[in-house]
Every structure is written in structure tokens, then in C-alpha cells.
């Protein structure tokens, strides 16, 4: 049954999983023939980080419509805030502030995560309360400090717009509905993957895609144990973790807010206090400030916090810097980023 999933992953069209799996089979064969001999240009398959698929299977019509809605302030109560207001696609999918401002200058309570690669995450939001990108859309649209809207009002505005009714009709028989709006926005988000990063090129076998220093940084990233949580295709985003796993972060920072309770707000389970979704590090170089409370201004600051509270150990400055160099190789490409 384990294989069933693999098969589904493989069968998704044009997916690089397919490539990777194909390679894997070839390599197994090779490995058998010439035992431990290392060949130049071999993809690195046995790594805890995997490359982002080069393409993603989405419906272009939905993506185009979702893109319009993503940039449309009509989704907010007073027509001032669009998704792109906080998730600026030109600046890494975030607005690069500690907390974003919603309608009427209202202040958010948690740092805005990037929308890039959100389709690769196992759940949405810092506390993972949405299981799908579709469900996620409800959050910001209805949150009083973000867009502060009610769905019926949003739908009414879209009905009155000259372009939307036709565009929806061309995709969905039932035209503009709440579910369909959520679906197209989610589909647009699914298209926002950033493949072909220098690090992914390295994983795919181009040894010269990253420098010796960056490779060293990656080695340290694994050795210090960062990779125990920041792993997989998104370098994070596939599990939850206690913030303050080794030393208590909140005791030191103090002034605990509701947002700091993390997943506990969703499950009510005391074990989930201060537990958050491990964020993806794919876009990390482009998306300061860091942490759910936006208190780390630079990657270095964030690493310091991680070392102190998550890893409970110290690293020499040189190691920290080498890891920053490595992290900068993770962001890939997307036309919207230019």
C-alpha cells in the first residue's frame, strides 16, 4: 500500500517525481553493476531534501482567473486589500514586515508566510488549521483584521463585475460560487512553485551548481540536525514542531499572545501548546523578517534563535554563515518573481 502513494505521485503528469523515480530505478541498476563507484552527474537521491518538480499540473484557465482574483481588492470589505497586498509576488510572496496590515490599517497578529510553494505544504497557516489551499482562502477573506469580508458580499461584487461572470461560466457550470472562487485562487497558488533553484540543480546531479562553501553549509545543515524538521521537497512544511523544543523560547521572550499558542488553538490538546507547522525554507532568503512573531530580522538572527531554542547548542560564526550561504541557494524560479 505504501507503494500506492508512490504510484500516485509518479503518475501525476510531467511530474519530476516521475523523473526522480525513473532515475532511481536506473541508478539501482547501475549501483548493482558497478557497486559503490560514484558517477559524475548522478542525481543525489538519498538526500533528506528533494528537488521541486519542474512543472505542476494545473488548469491554465483557473490559474488565469485565480491570478486576477489574487490581485483584486474587491475581496476585502472596503476594496482596499487584495491577497497580493501582503503576499507581494515580486518580493518573495510576502510584504517583508513583522505583521501585515489589513483593512483600515488593522494589524495582523502573526508574520505573513510566503504563498510561493504553498501547494507543497502539508497544511496551511502557521498552526496548520486549514487542510487544503481551498480551505485556507476562507481565513484571510473573513478575518476582520485582514480582508474583513463576508462571502455573500464578495460574491455580489464579483457578479456585478463585467469580467468575472463570463470567466467563471467558462470553467464552472454553476458560475460564481464561494467554492469556485476558493478553487480558482487555490489553483493559482498551486501554480506558484519555484523549481530549478541552484540547490535543486545540484540535487539533480550538477555538481557545480553550488559552490564548495554552499555545499559545506548544506553539510552543516544536516549535521547540526536542522534537517530533522526542515526536510523534504519544501525544506519544511511537512510536519509540526514545538517552538522551544530544547529550551523554552516563550519563557525568554515573554508576553505570550494567542498566536503564540500555535496548534493548541486548533486541537485544544495541551501537547500542542506552542507547536507550529515547520515553515518551508525554500524562499527564506527573500522573505525577512522571520519566525511566526517576525522578531528575527535576518537569516542569521533566525539561525541564532533556532540554535538556541530548537537545537540547544552553539555553532561557530563561520558555520552559521556557511548555512546562510546554503539557504540562499534554495529559492528557485517563477515568472511572477521578476
Amino acid at each position: 500500500m505504501m507503494l500506492t502513494t508512490r504510484r500516485t505521485l509518479k503518475s501525476s503528469k510531467h511530474s519530476t517525481w516521475q523523473l526522480a523515480c525513473g532515475f532511481k530505478l536506473c541508478l539501482l541498476g547501475l549501483a548493482m553493476m558497478c557497486s559503490s563507484q560514484v558517477l559524475a552527474g548522478e542525481p543525489l537521491l538519498n538526500e533528506p531534501i528533494k528537488p521541486i518538480p519542474l512543472t505542476v499540473d494545473v488548469d491554465p484557465k483557473k490559474v488565469a482567473l485565480g491570478r486576477l482574483l489574487f490581485h483584486d481588492p474587491q475581496l476585502s470589505a472596503d476594496n482596499t486589500v487584495s491577497c497580493a497586498t501582503c503576499h507581494d509576488l515580486k518580493t518573495g510572496g510576502v510584504d517583508r514586515v513583522k505583521f501585515s496590515k489589513g483593512i483600515k490599517g488593522r494589524m495582523g497578529k502573526i508574520n505573513t508566510p510566503t504563498v510561493y510553494n504553498s501547494g507543497l505544504l502539508f497544511r496551511q497557516f502557521w498552526d496548520g488549521r486549514a487542510e487544503t489551499l481551498e480551505d485556507q482562502v476562507d481565513g484571510p477573506v473573513q478575518n476582520p483584521v485582514e480582508m474583513g469580508s463576508q462571502w455573500p458580499d464578495v460574491l455580489a461584487k464579483l457578479y456585478d463585475d463585467e469580467k468575472y461572470p463570463g470567466m467563471f461560466k467558462a470553467i464552472y457550470e454553476d458560475g460564481i460560487t464561494r467554492d469556485n472562487v476558493k478553487n480558482v485562487i487555490a489553483e493559482f497558488q498551486r501554480s506558484l512553485i519555484t523549481p530549478n533553484s541552484r540547490f535543486d540543480q545540484y540535487l539533480r546531479g550538477d555538481e557545480n551548481a553550488i559552490t564548495a562553501r554552499e555545499k559545506h553549509g548544506y553539510k552543516l545543515f544536516k549535521r547540526y540536525g536542522c534537517v530533522s524538521c526542515h526536510q523534504g521537497v519544501a525544506v519544511g512544511g511537512n510536519m509540526f514542531q514545538l517552538f522551544g523544543a530544547v529550551n523554552s523560547y516563550f519563557k525568554v521572550r515573554g508576553n505570550i499572545t494567542e498566536a503564540d499558542m500555535g496548534r493548541f488553538n486548533v486541537t485544544g490538546n495541551p501537547e500542542d501548546k506552542h507547536v507550529f507547522k515547520v515553515p518551508s525554507l525554500r524562499m527564506v532568503a527573500l522573505t525577512p523578517p522571520y519566525l511566526h512573531d517576525g522578531t528575527a530580522k535576518t537569516m542569521r538572527d533566525a539561525e541564532d534563535v533556532m540554535f538556541k531554542f530548537q537545537l540547544g547548542r552553539k555553532a561557530p560564526d563561520d558555520d552559521i554563515e556557511a548555512m546562510v550561504e546554503f539557504l540562499k541557494t534554495l529559492a528557485g524560479e517563477h515568472p511572477e518573481m521578476k
Partner: protein, 590 residues
């Protein structure tokens, strides 16, 4: 004018027949069949996924460099199935409360599995990091304490470290509490130490505390991850649902049948009345009745066919049954994986220790080399060399260099054991090796024998008596697997007797139009009690670490899938004969 009553009657007959037809279509149970089959299938998929999910999590647990993407990939599928069942007629329709409650319990179990898996993932990441770091932290601290000549605390820490390790091998709540109290005490005394000690001490304590707190949590989340009660409840749900459905269907069918007969009689009466309307009209009416009857036959047949499908054959029944054995399986798997992991860990510790000693020796050596360059006094030189020789000797003893190869072998063995378990599981759960083709069973025997060779004790004779049999259709890879498993079992049965005249006989023949393959051995034999359970998944008579208990379950699954049968005869102490037959099919003319 004469015709008028005839036409009137005919129209009435048509109208009535129309109503009858409408009634027939409306009460077709086919729609119900699909809903029923879908629900059953979804429950079974969810059961299978629940088990596979556990295995995927375990797999990550035992594989270095793995990531949780695959474990996370189950989420959307599980979510969809849960949703589908949650809104199905089984949850919302007109079904008995007990059935609904069972479904709810089943879905809740799956939901809590999801939660356990999340906790497992988080705990595992933290424990893994701290396990790696604790020895380093302890060493760094010890070096600092010894530098300061603080032997008392150094010993204290060593002792604490050892007890922490002992706890990790055998966690219990009493020791947990004691250790935590001691950590806290140390924490409070931290201020008494200079900063150069306080820092490494803080590191050591944090990680020791994390491990002591989290190990029990991790173990309990692993237990929950491998808990397959959901599958059991799923089994009960399915059987209750089947009973309910077939009862309901029978009732429905009875009613429908009675109504139908009444309607038919009425229709015939109408037809007879219509005869009086005239011969032509009568003929038309007769044609109509004929058509009607023909339609009824077809539909009855279609209904029976659909009902048979729904009541079972569409899903792999063996998988279904194996769900009941899942509990046993998971215990076996967890045990099989955990035991070698345990001694892999302790052997690593020994290796680590040895390497450290070697490191010291090498440092000493480079110092010696440097110093010798600047020395001219031969006495001094020889005394340095003597000292170094003593150090070499000591290192050899302390680092247990002589034992290292054995330790490495042990570890290799442990890894192989784990790989073996995982491979068996893979074979069991694999359903995609079904590249079907025509193949010659003789070739299969020969290649299987090659692959099983290393399991056969030297001195055991292998006799083959391979008659020419027709080509078989199926998956050669799977049949190969069947043969390997049977030969392996034969070899192991012989090995268990310590006899030196071991004999394995492999025969193929054509019997009653079936291809028969027999694998016979003169090994220890199988007693009756064991014979009864031998095909159950995860049943094994072998020692822990020697067998996963999947071999014969795989054999049966594959052979049954090919439309064949497995049988066995055995005399305890004398030997065993496994026989399987495969149906002969006609190769289509090309």
C-alpha cells in the same frame, strides 16, 4: 364505433404497462448496489491506508536520510476517503444507529491516527537530534571539568550520562522522575560553576532532559502509530454493513417480487380484455407483453450479477482478512525493527568510543614524530618509543580493537535484519508486480532455485523432476516469489533438523488439467496446530529476527490471485510437502 372499446382498452393497457415499466425502473436496486459497493470499498481503502500509513511512518523511523513527505502524502487521500464516508448514506441515510455509530467510531480512530502520526513525527525529530548530540555534550562537559580538575563533578556527570543512557534503553516512569529531579538540582547549582563549565553543563542538561521527557512520549506515539484497532473496527463495520445490506435487499426484493406478480396478473387480465377489442389489437398487445417479459429477464439477471459483485469479489479478500491479523503484524514489525535498532545504537557507542581512543593515539603519534626530530639522546628516544608502545597496547585494549570487526559484523547483521523485514513487508503489500504474461513454470523453478540457493545448507541435495507442462498465464515475478518462499521454507526446515542428508524435491506435473508444482523436504515437519495457522500473515514459528511470518501469506495471496490453490501435507519429524496448482488457460490464437 366497434373498435372504440378495443382502442380504449389498449390505451389503458399501454398506460398500465407504462406504469409497470416505470415502477420497475424506479425500484431497480442497481443504484443501491453501487452506493453499497462504494462504501465498502472506501472503508477497505481507508483500512489499507491506515496500515500503510503506519508502515510508512515506521519506515522513516528506521531509514537514515529519509523525510516525512511520503508520510504527509497520505493526508489528502485519507481526508478524501473520510469525507466521502462522512457524507455517505451510511452516515446520513436511513440505516440503523448501531451501524452509524460504528462508522463514526471508525472515522474517529482514523482521525486520532492522524494526530498520533503528527506527534510521532515531532517527537522523533527532537529525540533524534538530542540522541546525536548528548554524547558530544557530555564529552565537552567532561573535558571542561577535568581541565578544572573537578573530579567529583566529572564523575557525577558520567554517572548521570550513563543512567540517562540506561533509561533510554529501558524507559520507565520511576526512573524518569528521579532523573528529572536530578537534572533540576544540577540546573539550580549552575550558578556555582564558572561560565566555561556552566555553558556545556546547560547544553548537557537541556538535551538529557529533552530525551528523558520525550523518549516516553515518542515510544507511546510509536505505539499509537502502529495501533491498528481502526482496521479491526473497519472489519466489524464491513461485516455488519454487509449483513444489514443483504437483509434489506432481500426484503426489498421480496416486496418488489410480490408487487410485480400482482402487476403482471393485472397486465395479463388487461391483455385478455384487449383481445375482445379485435385480433389486430390483440396481436399488438401480445407483442408488448413479450417485450415486457424479455426485459424482466434481463434485468433480473443484471441484478443478480450486481449483487454477487457487491457482496465480495471486487476487493482482494485476502487483504481484507489480513486486516484482522494486522494487530499481530504491527507488534511483530515494531519488535523486529526495534531490537536490531537497539543493539545498533549500543554498538555505535562502542565504535564511537574506540574511534576517540584512536584519535588520541594518532595525536600522540604526531607529537612523538615532531619531538623525535629534535632529539639526539638515544635513551630519551627509546624511552619515548617505549611509552608510545605502551599507549598503543592500552589503546588496543581500551578501544577493544580486536572486537571491532565483530561489532561491525553485528551491525551489518542488524541492518540486514531490518532490511529483510522491510523487504518482506514490501513484498506483502506490493500489488503492482502484476506484469502478466505467458511463462514456463520450469524456468521459474530454475531461477527461484538460483535465488534461494544461499538459504540452502551445503550438503542438502536438490532433486528436480520437471515434467513438460503447458505454459501458464500470470505474473512470472510473483510465481517466482512463491517458489522462492517455498524453497526457503524447505531449506529452513531442513536446517532446523541438523541432518546431513537433507533433500529438497521440486516437481512439476500436469494433473487433472492443472499445472501442479510440489516442493517437498525431509525437514522438521509441521504439527497440526501450526498447520492451521500457517497461512495467516505474521504467523511465524521462527525465532525473533528470523522470519516476518509473511512468506506463506504471500504464497497464498499470489496463488489465489492466479486462480490456484495451495495445499500442504506434513509429518512432524519426517518432512513437509507444499503443493500448489495453477489453472491451465488456453493461449489465444494470434
Amino acid at each position: 364505433m366497434k373498435r372504440m372499446p378495443g382502442i380504449f382498452l389498449l390505451v389503458a393497457a399501454i398506460a398500465f404497462s407504462g406504469a409497470l415499466g416505470f415502477y420497475l425502473v424506479k425500484t431497480m436496486p442497481v443504484q443501491q448496489d453501487i452506493v453499497f459497493a462504494d462504501n465498502i470499498e472506501n472503508i477497505q481503502k481507508l483500512q489499507a491506508m491506515d496500515a500503510a500509513w503506519s508502515l510508512a511512518a515506521l519506515h522513516t523511523y528506521s531509514t537514515p536520510n529519509s523525510d516525512f513527505d511520503e508520510v504527509a502524502a497520505y493526508l489528502p487521500q485519507v481526508r478524501e476517503l473520510r469525507k466521502a464516508l462522512g457524507i455517505s448514506e451510511l452516515a446520513t441515510g436511513d440505516v440503523p444507529e448501531t451501524l452509524k455509530n460504528k462508522l463514526i467510531r471508525f472515522l474517529l480512530m482514523i482521525e486520532s491516527k492522524e494526530e498520533s502520526i503528527e506527534h510521532f513525527k515531532s517527537n522523533f525529530a527532537v529525540v533524534r537530534n538530542s540522541l546525536k548530540f548528548l554524547p558530544l555534550a557530555s564529552r565537552a562537559l567532561n573535558v571542561k571539568l577535568r581541565e578544572m580538575d573537578d573530579k567529583k563533578h566529572a564523575e557525577n556527570i558520567s554517572d548521570l550520562y550513563e543512567r540517562t543512557n540506561a533509561f533510554l534503553q529501558r524507559p520507565d516512569e520511576g526512573n524518569q522522575a528521579t532523573l528529572l529531579v536530578e537534572f533540576n538540582k544540577m540546573d539550580e547549582n549552575m550558578m556555582a560553576f564558572p561560565e566555561s563549565v556552566a555553558n556545556p553543563l546547560g547544553n548537557f542538561l537541556s538535551h538529557a532532559r529533552v530525551l528523558v521527557e520525550r523518549k516516553i512520549q515518542l515510544d507511546s506515539s510509536v505505539e499509537k502509530v502502529v495501533d491498528l484497532r481502526a482496521s479491526k473496527i473497519g472489519d466489524e463495520l464491513i461485516s455488519q454493513y454487509r449483513t444489514y445490506y443483504s437483509d434489506a435487499l432481500a426484503k426489498h426484493y421480496d416486496e418488489r417480487f410480490v408487487n410485480f406478480i400482482i402487476a403482471l396478473v393485472a397486465a395479463l387480465l388487461l391483455a385478455i380484455i384487449a383481445i375482445m377489442g379485435g385480433v389486430m389489437l390483440f396481436r399488438q398487445a401480445q407483442e408488448f407483453a413479450e417485450k415486457l417479459e424479455q426485459g424482466i429477464d434481463e434485468k433480473t439477471e443484471a441484478y443478480e450479477h450486481a449483487a454477487a459483485e457487491a457482496s465480495g469479489s471486487m476487493v482482494d479478500k485476502n487483504l481484507d482478512q489480513s486486516m484482522a491479523g494486522m494487530g499481530r503484524m504491527v507488534a511483530t514489525v515494531a519488535h523486529e525493527v526495534n531490537t536490531p535498532l537497539g543493539y545498533l545504537g549500543s554498538n555505535l557507542q562502542v565504535l564511537h568510543n574506540g574511534m576517540e581512543k584512536m584519535q588520541t593515539l594518532m595525536n600522540e603519534f604526531s607529537m612523538l614524530k615532531n619531538d623525535l626530530g629534535g632529539m639526539s639522546d638515544s635513551d630519551q628516544i627509546s624511552s619515548r618509543i617505549d611509552n608510545f608502545a605502551i599507549l598503543v597496547q592500552n589503546t588496543q585494549d581500551e578501544a577493544m580493537l580486536d572486537e571491532l570487526p565483530e561489532i561491525v559484523d553485528d551491525m551489518q547483521g542488524g541492518i540486514e535484519q531490518i532490511q529483510h523485514v522491510i523487504k518482506d513487508l514490501g513484498d506483502f503489500s506490493r500489488k503492482d508486480r502484476s506484469d502478466e504474461d505467458w511463462f514456463d513454470i520450469k524456468q521459474c523453478v530454475e531461477s527461484a532455485l538460483k535465488m534461494a540457493k544461499k538459504e540452502i545448507t551445503p550438503g542438502t541435495k536438490v532433486q528436480m523432476d520437471l515434467a513438460d507442462v503447458p505454459e501458464t498465464f500470470g505474473s512470472p515475478a510473483e510465481i517466482n516469489q512463491v517458489l522462492i518462499n517455498l524453497i526457503n521454507n524447505a531449506a529452513h526446515a531442513i536446517e532446523a533438523t541438523d541432518r546431513d542428508n537433507g533433500l529438497i524435491k521440486i516437481r512439476t506435473s500436469l494433473e487433472k488439467g492443472q499445472v501442479m508444482v510440489s516442493v517437498m523436504d525431509n525437514g522438521e515437519g509441521i504439527d497440526e496446530e501450526t498447520r492451521r495457522k500457517i497461512f495467516e500473515p505474521f504467523f511465524t514459528t521462527k525465532d525473533v529476527g528470523k522470519g516476518t511470518g509473511l512468506g506463506l501469506a504471500i504464497v497464498r495471496r499470489i496463488v489465489t490471485k492466479h486462480g490456484g490453490k495451495v495445499m500442504l501435507k506434513s509429518i512432524p519429524g519426517k518432512g513437509t510437502n507444499f503443493v500448489f496448482v495453477l489453472p491451465v488457460k488456453k493461449r489465444p490464437q494470434e
